[in-house]
Symmetry: C2
Subunit: 339 residues, 2 copies
Amino acid sequence: MNSMRRIAIDAMGGENAPEAIIKAVLRAKKELKETQFLLFGNKEEISKYLPSEELDNQIEIINTSEIISDEDEPVRAIRRKKDSSLVVAANYVKTGKADGLLSLGNTGALLAAGIFIVGRIKGVERPGLMPTLPVKNSDNGFNMIDVGANAQAKPEYLVKWAQMASFYAEKVRGIKNPKVALLNNGAEYDKGDDLHKNVYQLLQAEPINFIGNIEGNQLLSGMADVVVTDGFTGNAVLKNIEGTSSTILHLIKDALINGSFITKIGALLIKGALKSIKSKFDTAKYGGAVLLGLKSPVVKTHGRSDQRAIYYTLIQIDKMIEEDLTSVFTAEFSKNDDK
Amino acid sequence: MNSMRRIAIDAMGGENAPEAIIKAVLRAKKELKETQFLLFGNKEEISKYLPSEELDNQIEIINTSEIISDEDEPVRAIRRKKDSSLVVAANYVKTGKADGLLSLGNTGALLAAGIFIVGRIKGVERPGLMPTLPVKNSDNGFNMIDVGANAQAKPEYLVKWAQMASFYAEKVRGIKNPKVALLNNGAEYDKGDDLHKNVYQLLQAEPINFIGNIEGNQLLSGMADVVVTDGFTGNAVLKNIEGTSSTILHLIKDALINGSFITKIGALLIKGALKSIKSKFDTAKYGGAVLLGLKSPVVKTHGRSDQRAIYYTLIQIDKMIEEDLTSVFTAEFSKNDDK
């Protein structure tokens, strides 16, 4: 049983906790026979959704008495709520009783738990938060790093994020020689502020497939597999993709619902076609956002995630544990001088 | 005739030049009886689209022999191509022979012409580029400044942009006490990198209606009339709005065109409703992007603009000249110490 991969799951975070989380675990457990799922949270609450026949060697419940909510101040919360589902789960990872961590709760608290409890890989000064996002006309998607773990950026951070994300795209997502681009305000090498000009030069010297700058309107085009950006810009752009797409889809829905009788009939007829777009832009299947640069995989999924999105995130974490990215990064970064 | 407002128009810039530009002028001239339109460019080319009966005291053609293309390096182009439509038009504004400038051509060259030929208002160290963008459920739209005239930002720049854009929203767009927000990576006052934390504090002390931070997903919600941001983030976000919305609309179009027979019939029936969305998200009616902080209005419209978009931009420039924003800014900024 010790050779099993073990995923620590904060079962109390997110809007659909713990039900959606447990359903996702029950689905994942059928496929990942070598994986154990550790559920941290209120045992009574969790047991409600867990049929007794499912309680086998693949599932364990660890009872915890506290919950970190979205309103909690992240760093204080992980220091004070010692018996919260998140903190206890993170400690399991720290002490080697689990190999990866999933939470749907307070993003800041998960980042803090990742950095202060799970810990950084030697040589990675600042971990970066990295989701996988959809692209047009392909099922591949792209990784964007950092989308907000760090408001303040230095050139070295971005270079390390590029290295790690390139490895991730290759090992976890199976993309050969992933194309890495820098989010910038123009195509030419000399574009951008000092930070981004500097990063451009540094990335050219790295043994990755750096294809140059990418602009904000090209992100969803699929021209890059990995997009590197500072956390401030990345955060604004990520939220903007969400806001713009949901605004447009809402407007379309409104127009169809409030339209004439003819429009309503038309809306019924195109329903199937619109669903196919939704599946094209299906972010669920890409899993969660990885806090890249930690000693073990730590992944955040959206608080509104349904069981399907959580299921894909479990598959993603399992793959990260299997590929043992931490060892790859550690070997890679110890070649250079350590800080 | 000297009391007329005079708009200098680079008739050679943009994909549809000069035809679309001249059509727009002919439409605007019927409404703006007090305005004169100065067309700079190849006289022969321009005359082709200009019926001789329209050549009255409201229209003048100034023949120029050179054109600045999108491929030209901006600063070099405005220094070397002295007889280009853009440079000659900008010189008309500089010497008081015109009151405002419109171009659809090379954005960088227009920014350079604005700053180096038309000139900055005393007290404005860095002009900011400011489009008006659409919002959901309202015809008002919002102004975003700076979207890329400055890659490098300082807190004082953003504060001045906020002041100027607030005036603009009030005087030109007719919004009483416009709500001004700072694009940031969280709602709380202490969010962001050092630059944005600093700007937050400074904006609170300004006599404008500062409503706090706005996040990337809220831009199109209409919660702010003016959004202030550094030019690097603003550029990424503006391009991202364009890229995301066009990607989604393309996907929908593709799904409808390549769908089943039933889908195609449905697509025909909803055509009207989809058009109503397009008119909701009609950026043309908001005019062009203003380079705010210059001694006279200088406005850029998209190179792909049709005559309708250009027409609205002429109306916008006319309104800016009428409201004499420069005097307002000059009076306002001379209260403080000048740099």
